[in-house]
């Protein structure tokens, strides 16, 4: 009876959050499984249950798997590049005596700006400024088709995405570095450790939780990458830089309007993300226990 009263009062407070959460997150997630098995589209008024045929079509859809492969490539490169640069900047800036706040503020700045705006700004750099520098300043190594050639378009996307993400990760690493007691670092130096050893054996183990958080964040946001590619290459040339999120978006909202089929694709994407997250949590837990 006491529990009943407690629960009743709990429900009173939880209901508003529960309603919006249920309608806009949980229900779409669950009903998606059903829509994925229908031929729902934006043209016909009615739709019917078609079983697993959408999923079978997804398996054979080479554009979709190309986009999955591209997304994997993007995620792997981003996890390494952004985390290494962010950690490097964090360590260097933490050790500064002067202008610490200034650099922190500057490096975080791109993160404030939407990647749609950032992507268009960089497009100007890649399509106008680079050629100018190559033609007039003799920097011929910049004379590449940055948006038009799949290989360089990938590099361009990585550059812009890194530009946008590093500041955020750097802030997290800096907060973690501030948590490392100065006495520990000094003790290591007294024991004759060089800065390199000091970093790997004393500091790094103490900021491991931040590494976990940052890798997790890069993985998670990487698999959903949309804005930066949308604004920079639009998925092109052709479909060479199309991410999975873009592929799903195009299937549903551009041209095809095959909602059911696109939902099947998004279900597959969720399954992939879920498996990778589980593997990652397992691996990270193991590492943290060993440390």
């Amino acid at each position: 009876m006491k529990n009943f009263k407690a629960n009743a009062s709990l429900m009173l407070f939880v209901t508003p959050a529960l309603i919006v959460y249920f309608i806009f997150k949980l229900m779409p997630a669950v009903s998606g499984l059903y829509y994925a098995m229908t031929d729902w589209n934006g043209i016909n008024k009615t739709f019917v249950f078609v079983g697993l045929s959408n999923f079978i079509e997804v398996l054979k859809d080479s554009y979709f798997w190309d986009s999955v492969l591209f997304t994997f490539k993007y995620v792997i490169v981003m996890v390494f590049v952004t985390n290494v640069i962010a950690l490097l900047l964090a360590v260097v800036i933490e050790n500064l005596h002067r202008a610490k706040g200034l650099f922190r503020t500057l490096f975080y700045m791109p993160n404030m700006i939407s990647m749609i705006i950032g992507g268009y700004m960089w497009m100007f750099i890649f399509t106008k400024v680079m050629y100018y520098l190559a033609d007039n300043w003799g920097w011929t190594f910049l004379d590449k088709s940055w948006i038009g050639d799949p290989k360089y378009a990938f590099i361009a996307i990585i550059v812009v995405a890194t530009w946008g993400a590093v500041g955020y990760l750097m802030i997290i690493y800096m907060a973690a570095l501030q948590g490392v007691p100065a006495a520990l670092k000094e003790a290591a130096l007294l024991d004759g450790a060089n800065p390199w050893q000091q970093f790997w054996h004393v500091i790094f183990p103490m900021i491991r939780h931040a590494v976990t958080i940052c890798v997790f964040w890069t993985l998670n946001s990487g698999f959903q990458v949309f804005d930066v590619i949308y604004s920079l290459t639009g998925g092109g040339p052709g479909r060479a830089t199309q991410s999975t999120a873009m592929n799903i978006f195009e299937e549903a909202f551009r041209g095809n309007v095959r909602y059911g089929y696109a939902t099947a694709k998004s279900t597959v994407l969720f399954a992939i993300v879920l498996v990778i997250t589980i593997i990652q949590i397992r691996a990270m837990q193991k590492k943290e226990q060993e440390a």
Binding site: N3, A6, N7, S9, L10, F13, V14, P16, A17, L18, V20, Y21, I23, F24, K25, M27, P28, A29, S31, G32, Y35, V92, L96, A99, F103, R104, M109, M112, I113, S114, M115, I116, I117, G118, Y120, M121, F124, I125, K128, Y132, W163, Y168, I172, M174, I213, F223, F226, S231, T244, A245, I248, F249, A252, Y259, S266, T267, L269, F270, V273, T277
Partner: protein, 276 residues
């Protein structure tokens, strides 16, 4: 020794300066070229503009309905975050204070979905939007953001409430406050630090979110800043002076916001992520 130390220091500052320059490069290039005429821009992108003409800005200011888009974005972010904070503070506090199986179940229900990527739910969500008739509704979109954001916010509130003593709430109850009075008069003020974190991270998310408004809003009177900018980019595909001035206009509110609240923003970001 000191000489070597000095040299490393100079190298460190040099490295950081170059990195900072790279960081600001697209913004600086956009500002510089946005003041040029088309002819100037085509002849030399690296030169300083000949004069400080705001013609491009005036042109794009009107073309992208700047004030209307800005107001839409402010309303959207403000309403979304207000709903999110209110709903999740109520829920997070009560979930923490109630020790029943139901409470643990509901908390789990909120948290488990944090793994679901947005692109996985966007199409069924679009169906919900159509069914509720909230396509092109900024208020409706705010409720969607609240729904998508409550999980993380409840998680943060729940963790924060654990750390505050229950005695104050009990005292308020003895003084005759009902649960809602206790919440608004006693609890909510104590939650201020975590509320600031939640407000900052979510305002930034919603302000810069593109995909969800792109799906829900198609009426250009309801366009957010990003949607207007994107449309303008399509219309002026090769007129870079117009595009760059529009980009600067679109980025301006965040840059101003950042320069005033950078301390709170940077703290909020690291708080939110290390706890979450």
């Amino acid at each position: 020794m000191t000489k070597r130390l000095r040299l490393t220091q100079i190298l460190v500052y040099l490295f950081l300066t170059i990195a900072a320059f790279f960081c600001l490069l697209p913004i600086l290039m956009a500002i510089m070229n946005s003041f040029k005429t088309n002819g100037e821009l085509l002849t030399d992108v690296m030169a300083l503009p000949k004069g400080l003409s705001f013609d491009n800005y005036i042109r794009t200011f009107n073309k992208m309905h700047y004030m209307r888009s800005l107001l839409n974005t402010v309303i959207l972010s403000g309403l979304s975050v207000t709903l999110m904070v209110l709903f999740s503070a109520l829920a997070g506090w009560r979930l923490c204070r109630t020790k029943t199986k139901l409470s643990a179940f509901i908390l789990g229900l909120f948290i488990f979905s944090m793994l679901i990527p947005f692109s996985s739910i966007m199409i069924p969500l679009y169906k919900v939007v159509l069914a509720l008739g909230i396509k092109n509704s900024l208020v409706g979109l705010s409720f969607i953001y609240a729904g998508l954001g409550v999980s993380m916010a409840i998680f943060l509130y729940h963790g924060f409430v654990k750390g505050i003593p229950i005695e104050l709430e009990e005292a308020a109850a003895i003084d005759g406050c009902n649960a809602f009075q206790t919440f608004f008069l006693v609890v909510l003020p104590m939650l201020k630090p975590v509320t600031i974190t939640i407000v900052i991270t979510n305002v930034l998310w919603i302000w810069n979110d593109f995909l969800l408004p792109l799906i829900v809003i198609s009426d250009n009177k309801k366009y957010t800043l990003l949607l207007s900018t994107n449309t303008l980019f399509g219309q002026y595909s090769s007129d870079w002076t117009a595009i760059l001035s529009a980009l600067i206009l679109a980025a301006l509110p965040v840059i101003i916001f950042y320069s005033f609240f950078q301390k709170q923003i940077l703290e909020g970001i690291s708080e939110g992520s290390l706890k979450g």
